[in-house]
């Protein structure tokens, strides 16, 4: 027997043991009424909750679309900016290189590699200044005292102060180097062949 019915029967029992049918029917009817109210409340709650969650979901979708569109727009802007930057970099009349605070190459233009006879592999992003200097020495594109030249260059950039120098290459070329530290602890340098001016 269901425990609720057992309780109802116990409540409807008279002292004599007979059942008071009117009380029993009242209790049973009340229980049906409570059950109906509970079911209706549950149905309504679920329907409202689904509606609210769908509305939130739509809002979220819209937000995602708006953010995605904004990101795309920003991406296009960045692409355009990169194209302009590349064009400027490659059309410079001088060689240019930029390194981070740990002397890893961030970017350089083709003219920089060409000036020192370096392959694209030797000037790819992430190589160290030392490896570039050593490659320049190996390619014969350094001053006569190559070992001193490498150590001197490394010491100069570590000082973090702007400097200007003119390097005389073994083949007689004179290259002016203009070094400038950047705000993030890295540095940028331009290399210009000034042999004709000498």
């Amino acid at each position: 027997m269901h425990k609720l019915l057992a309780r109802q029967l116990a409540k409807a029992a008279k002292g004599s043991g007979e059942l008071d049918v009117e009380i029993l029917l009242g209790l049973v009817s009340e229980a049906y009424g409570q059950s109906d109210s509970d079911r209706q409340r549950t149905d309504r709650s679920i329907a409202l909750m689904i509606g609210e969650l769908e509305q939130l979901n739509r809002g979220l979708d819209q937000l995602v679309q708006e953010r995605t569109a904004a990101l795309r727009e920003r991406e296009f802007e960045l692409q355009a900016q990169n194209l302009r930057f590349d064009a400027a970099l490659e059309n410079m009349p001088v060689g240019l290189c930029m390194f981070d605070r740990n002397d890893y190459l961030i970017v350089c233009n083709e003219r920089y590699g060409a000036m020192y006879g370096l392959t694209s592999e030797q000037v790819k992003r992430g190589v160290t200044l030392r490896s570039i200097l050593e490659a320049r020495v190996a390619a014969g594109n350094s001053p006569e005292d190559a070992e001193r030249y490498v150590e001197q260059r490394l010491a100069e950039v570590r000082r973090g102060q702007p400097y200007y120098t003119e390097n005389v290459m073994r083949d007689g070329r004179v290259v002016a180097v203009n070094y400038r530290p950047t705000q993030d602890g890295g540095w940028v340098a331009t290399h210009q062949d000034i042999t004709a001016q000498k």
């Binding site: 309780r7 109802q8 909750m49 609210e52």
Partner: protein
Amino acid sequence: MAAPGLVGIFVLSDGLNVNGSELVAGIIGAVGQQVSVTGGLAGDGAEFRETLVGADCPPRKQVVAAVGFYGAAIRIGHGSAGGWDEFGPRRQITRSRGNVLFEFDGGPALDLYKRYLGEDETRGLPGFGLLFPLRIFDPERPNHDIVRTILAVDHEARSMTFAGDVPEGWTAQLMRGNFDRLAAGAALAARQATDGVGAARSGDQLAILVSCIGRRLLMGQHTADELEAASAEFGPQIPQLGF
């Protein structure tokens, strides 16, 4: 009531004119954190018109009564658990003052309750608002939630008054009940209380149970289920009384 040897206070308060959070804070401020404070706010069924409390006198309105338990031999365990299930989206409390809630997510709080209660049960506000207790928590401490029950509504201001504070900026979520889980909540509270006393359970024992009119409204004739569930945890040897 604060005196040497005080180990616990059982409080019964007027249920319609008291902010429960402030009542508890006031008592703890007077007697200290080491004293167990338990009890409840009085009800008048689903009427929400007048609650009566008495101690050494006939019951009266706007009374807070308390019984103090003194002595090193007394061991007090207590527990509190709801068994309510949270449901629906989480909402931000965007306007409130103390224990009066005005807005969720920029909209009137009372309107939300009216939608969920439907036309028939809306007429039973504020009592039927107890069918959807409110779980609230500080978004920075989401695991420390509090369940608030409704005390009154103001149809003109479209606001609701709860038994404790509902701080602005906190997150809120409606809750709903299920007979079995509410009964399981009562059993859990009883288990917490017996565990709180622990191995020291010996000598004369008494369990004082306090339930909520919201649970009774929802459970109807199933209300006895929660009493049975709690009693099963205490065992037959512990006399019980309650509200």
